[in-house]
Amino acid sequence: MQNSLVYGHEFEWLQTNSDQKANSTGSSQVATPIGAKVLLLYPDGIRLGDTTCDAAMVGGQQEGAGLFREVSSKSLNVPRPEYARARPVVVPPQDAARLVQSWEGTVVDVRRGKLIVRLRDLLHQQRPEERAEIPLEQLSEPDLPLVAPGAVFYWTMGYQVSPRGQRTLASDIRFRRDPPWSEADLRRAEARERELDELLGEPSAQ
């Protein structure tokens, strides 16, 4: 009889690294033959679906090399409750971080190694817009190619609290990354332009 298997994303997900080689965690593990039926479960027992153990799951190694937790075949009859709700997800733990201030910024100009920016307070809507200068050296290197007038970024200040309780004031700037306009986007924009032209009674350029 083929093994019936369970893994959940918190404890027994099939772990794959970037090379797609598999390994697993957990203490009670058995060899899994290629072709065995594998049951995908969330940690709370909610059934995701069935699949078949294949070479990718056992790391491209010999049959039986994959290690998963064995369960009885009865587990395959786990009912599937209604889980497809817009429910919150479990967020991986990390050091505590206390948000102090958050702005959405727009680059107005770049002059002599500084960004001239407009800032809108994201935590306090009623506060007026502010102007500021930010040295380019405060930006993360991957974001430098995005710096241009009109670019939008988020500037956050907060305390990072280590597990030992040590507080560090951190300032992070992250630029918005928008994908390039697709053909469909351009078509929609042109259609919208025509709609507005008709609404305003102005002739379309086309």
Binding site: H9, R85, P92, L99, R177, D178, A184
Partner: protein
């Protein structure tokens, strides 16, 4: 009396959950990098963690973003302060690219851990939300383990809004508050949901924070008033 504005979460995070029909295998870190949705460095090395990529399910962490996708549910979350708003952009832009993905519902979530000034304040919050007199003689030493209240959000278009309160597992003594605002569309309509996400993210997140602070302030204020 404690003011709501004085109560600031020690830890907070946000998540977006979409319900629809998805192809999990698409959502690989390198795909996000190729589409220009994350910093290239976040899709490789230590910043990138692939837990599983299968036709049925994908679970990955790319820089500050963690996501779980199966065939009917897409969930993305972050607890990184610098990515709280970028998460919205990531989700909006992802499905602007995958524009034919059928989407039917969306949840905007925020979770917050508040540190209480004292053990007494911590217990007072529980006692105010769930008075223990009702349990006299039924169980010994009752304590609030979990409370969930659902209702409608404020605003012009009220939506299902759920608030969960629990003891914090990360801040001692502390209270954990999570909010979930649910958006539904009549028919599969990705553009409408994405517009709702784009337009409502800030107000929903700001509202969740304000509401949680106000709830705690009311709990503590009533204690003070009663004294």
């Amino acid at each position: 009396m404690t003011q709501a504005s004085e109560l600031t979460p020690e830890i907070e995070g946000v998540s977006v959950v979409l319900v629809g029909s998805f192809n999990p295998a698409i959502f690989q870190p390198q795909w996000f990098a190729r589409m220009g949705l994350v910093r290239p460095q976040e899709a490789e090395g230590e910043a990138c963690k692939i837990e599983i990529v299968r036709p049925e399910v994908t679970v990955c962490t790319v820089g500050p973003f963690h996501y779980e996708v199966d065939t009917v549910r897409f969930a993305a979350s972050t607890t990184s302060l610098d990515a709280l708003t970028s998460l919205r952009d990531l989700v909006v832009n992802t499905f602007r690219i995958l524009e034919h993905t059928p989407l039917t519902a969306m949840g905007l979530n925020r979770h917050m851990h508040f540190k209480m000034a004292s053990e007494a304040d911590y217990h007072d919050v529980g006692h105010r939300l769930a008075p223990k007199a009702l349990w006299d003689g039924l169980i010994a030493n009752p304590g609030l383990a979990s409370l969930q209240i659902s209702g409608l959000s404020n605003g012009n278009r009220p939506r299902r809004f759920t608030v969960s309160v629990q003891p914090s597992s990360k801040v001692k003594p502390g209270v954990f508050i999570a909010t979930n605002e649910e958006y539904k569309v009549e028919q599969e309509n990705a553009p409408e949901l994405l517009t709702l996400l784009q337009d409502n993210w800030e107000s929903t997140q700001r509202g969740a924070r304000t509401m949680a602070g106000e709830l705690l302030a009311r709990c503590l204020a009533k204690v003070t008033d009663a004294e």
